[in-house]
Amino acid sequence: AQDQVLKMATTTSTDNTGLLDYLAPFFKADTNIELQWVAVGTGKALELGKNCDVDVLLVHAPDSEIEYVKAGYGVDRKQLMFNDFVIIGPKKNPAGIGGSSVAEALKVIESKKAKFASRGDNSGTHKKELILWENSGIEIPDKEAWYIQTGQGMINTINIAAERDAYTMTDRGTFIKYEANWKGDPPLDILVEGDAMLRNQYSVLAVNPKRCENVKYDLATKFSDWMTSAKAQKLVGDFKLLEKQLFIPNASE
């Protein structure tokens, strides 16, 4: 029989870390379905789903996802795994932040007008950052000179932070890659980690087959079933980038 093809839109982090390259062959072996994915920002991934151009979504912006399902664009949202965000900054740490409280760190940054690089691209990471400012009781410093809105992907934003001696927030996976690019001696270090607010939840959604007649809902279901299966969850837990675990499976939560 001919290979069946499932089209997925996903965020760049799952692709950039190599997780999907690692999972796809197992999925194929188990179900005979070929997974093809488009790695874009979460916002764009959701838009592609809206236009029925993909069958399934793998994204990490829980609030938007819930709204998306409510609006009838997506169905069967299931959570899969999470990793965490960290706040990084120059080795010299000019503002002197540290520890595990995000709110404290952000307040110090704001009061000292220390440079902070924001992705400013409506990505899952950016949305998370905005929530962190809000939860820390700080207005989004849109027009402040020290608040650098890059409108770019994570790696580029980290690079800009490094060039500008700025702090920034990143997912751990990207930071591990960044560290590796610098052969373990990057100009930026992790300064804040471990806060419960820093959890980064990934979920899978099928595109609503009632809106989009062409989508392969059956394949999408097979994919989300497989991803939440014990086998796949173990694979996710075993996935390592540069010897470090990146994602913690939590489909059962």
Partner: protein
């Protein structure tokens, strides 16, 4: 600086070791650019001839419009074409999204204005005596067009080379319409964007060198051809 030299070494390695991912991207790039170039030249050269050869009242304005289209950013072309070929767009049924022919169609939108504008300039630059001579020798319609283009062959070739450079090096369209799907629609440029996005600058440079190598092969072949028709 380090990653430039690193990139050089990686590029040699990628090509010599027959890296399958690289070769897949090379073939996708070649497929998309050959398709889009054939289409663009077939459509753009005749239109460019018409724009350059004939005098008509709105000529100046037509020219300004075509020249403006040279400034179409690839992302915008990507978006526009996406709006048409997305499932919910008017041409959704052809299933062009995330395919190589889809990339080619969108690249044609990008590249046809270049071919038209530079072909028109080439034709306008021809000796004024050519037109009268062709007419009085009895040439008509297509014959005039073909002979004029052959008289302006170097400038038309330059139009094609410029268009080719634009098509092969663009990334926005391949990204948006192709989707950068590994083994299927990943071109060299989207692969570069991916590697750069990952912070793998040396790999980005390496792939860039592969692309340049490809372009050089094409241009060198053309320059040999050009000498033959001299």
């Amino acid at each position: 600086m380090g990653y430039i030299s690193e990139g050089f070494i990686s590029a040699l390695h990628l090509l010599s070791s027959g890296n399958v991912e690289t070769y897949s991207a090379v073939f996708t790039t070649l497929k998309a650019s050959s398709l889009s170039m054939s289409g663009s030249l077939l459509i753009g050269i005749p239109l460019g001839f018409l724009l350059g050869y004939f005098e008509f009242p709105a000529k100046r304005h037509a020219r300004a419009v075509v020249d403006t289209l040279l400034a179409l950013p690839t992302v915008v072309v990507g978006l526009l074409v996406y709006a048409f070929i997305s499932r919910r767009g008017p041409l959704g049924d052809f299933g062009l999204l995330f395919t190589v022919p889809g990339i080619a169609v969108a690249q044609m939108v990008l590249v046809i204005p270049i071919v038209i504008s530079l072909t028109a300039t080439a034709i306008e630059g021809l000796d004024r005596r050519l037109r009268l001579n062709l007419l009085t020798l009895g040439a008509r319609g297509k014959q005039i067009a073909l002979t004029s283009l052959s008289e302006a062959r170097y400038a038309v070739l330059a139009a094609a080379v410029t268009a080719y450079g634009r098509a092969i090096s663009e990334v926005g369209i391949s990204m948006m319409i192709g989707g950068n799907i590994k083994w299927h629609t990943r071109t060299i440029t989207t692969a570069i964007a991916l590697e750069t996005g990952k912070g793998q600058f040396a790999m980005g440079i390496a792939l860039g060198l592969v692309l340049i190598f490809l372009a050089f092969a094409v241009n060198w072949a053309l320059s040999v051809l050009k000498r033959k028709t001299d």
